[in-house]
Structures are given as structure tokens and as C-alpha cells.
Amino acid sequence: MITLYSKATSNGRKASIMLEETGLAYRVRAMALERREQKEPWFLALNPNGRIPVIVDEDGPRGAPFTVFESAAILTYLAEKAGKFLPPEGRARAEVMTWLTFASTHLTFTGMQVHWQVRLREQGKPHELLAVWQEENARVYGVFEQALADGRPFLAGAAYSIADIAAWPWIHRWRMQEIDFESFPRTKAWYERVGTRDAVRRGLNVPPRDDGL
């Protein structure tokens, strides 16, 4: 059994969607980020960085419990455990790792900066970096748009992979990011294609959130 420590945020959803996609047995421990539960000593013992998501696999390598933090590491670990969504070797694997890394760094980092600035604006505070990060975010969407230009249905090519799972939850917040989605038609089509998957719909709401985001 795997325990997922998470909240249904863009990073948390990478792990919950992956668990739903693989069909591995798991339970959820919802984290109260508003109470900074992720900074409590018991949680820092799982992830010294104090961030969600984290998984603890009771049946880890050699049968011993194993803790994994950082969403990209969780996706890779679960893909290898389930034998799904990450080719075992060669060029196809390198393609997935490339786009997994791009989604985990440029898209995720930029998305976090946009969301931070939007929250400052909502609170009536100075948010002078909002335009800079929105511009960078649009550039990142442009990179996806270019990658999809050869007609590939998924980010790393013909097959759905952990690269798609890493990118999708951040693109899911395109409205909050004030992205002009019509300017990125291939990315929009990819977003809709991935979004119709049952496991993605289920994983979006783990642990359940009631504000419809």
C-alpha cells in the first residue's frame, strides 16, 4: 500500500493522477497547508524541503518502506514500479525525461511565480513582477506549441507518458494564469485530449476539494 501526502494543487495532482493512472493501491493523507502542516517535524522527516506531494511505499525496493518526494521523482518511481508511462531505455525514455524535466522546471517554476503574483494582486499588494512572469509563462506555452507542431498527440511523442502527467495540472490553471489559450491551439487540443481521461478526472479531486478549481 502507498500513502500519498498531498493536497489537490497543481503539484499534488501530478502524483494523484499518476496513482489513478497506474491503478496502484493507495490511500490519501490530506495535508492542511493553511496550517503549515507540511513544515511540522514529522513531515520534514519525510521531505526535508517541506512540500507536497510525498509518497511512502510500504512495499518499496527489496520489500522495505520507501519515501519519495519531489513530484518528478514520484512520477518516475511509480512509472518504474508499475511499468507504465516511461519506456525502460533508449531514445523514447530520453524524450520522456526531457519533457518531464521541462514541465517540472520551466512550466512549474513559472506557474508558481504567476500564481504568487496573482495572489498578491488579489490581496491588494504590490505585484510588479506579474507581467514579467505572465510573459515568461506564455513563452513556455509557446515551447509546448512548437513541440506539438509535428502532429504528435502527446508531449514525448505517440505515447501518453509521465511528461504529460507532469505538465497537465499546471496547464489546467490556464484561466488563472490569464493565458490566451486560442493562441496555442495545439496545446489546447492536447490539454483537452489528456483531460478526457478518466484517471485524470479522478486524480484532479484527490484529496477532494470543493471550490471547483
Partner: protein, 133 residues
Amino acid sequence: MAYVPDGQRVGPMFGQANHFRTYAKEKITYAVERYTNEARRLYGVLDKRLTDHEYLAGDFYSIADIATYPWCRAPERRGVSHDEFPNVKRWFQAIDARPAVIRGNAVLEDVPHAELDDKAWDIMFGKAQFQKR
């Protein structure tokens, strides 16, 4: 594996700290503070991990160390001293002395940094960086 993406956090955050401390034309106090504090927090995470592990992923040198090491050079650029983080310092010095690292650091070192005039600044940090490429 968990520590390779740690390099993925270190890069962007340290990069922002460098930018707002050194390159930004306007000093935005909040941005300088936020990114400097976050860089310092990440140094703390690395230092804690390295208290009882020789390298980031455990007792062996790995791509996690290779991803993180270059961002730990010139810490003063992000307002941090390695003296505050003794385990990072020990780890950094061990990697810094590896022959392959010394050779890797020398790659492209002879290419001079262009002077950062207004045009170069714009290409690196201004509007031009957002142009489709």
C-alpha cells in the same frame, strides 16, 4: 532520484536571486528578499541532508550532485556564505576538487563574457528573452 529535482528547485530559485540582486535594473526590494530568503532556505535543506550523507542521494556521487554543484559556485552572488552551511561547504569542496569537475569547469571558460551593455542586457533579461525562439 528525489535529489535530482532538488537541483531543479535550486537552479530557478538561485537564478532569480542572482537576477534581482545583480542584474535587475530596478531594485525591487520584495523580490530581492523573497528570492534571497528562498535561496537561503534551500541551502538549509541541502545542508541538513548532507549532515549524515556524503552526497545528496546517499553515499555515492550522482547526477543529483552534478545538477546542484554549478549553482553552488559563487554563493556571495545570492547573499550567502558557505561558512554558514558547513556540510554544504564540505560537499562543495569535495566535488570542486574532482578532476572531471575541474575539467568540466574549464570548458568554454576561455570564451570571454560579453560586456553587458544595454543591448546585451535586453537580449539576456529584457523583452527579447520572451520572443519566440
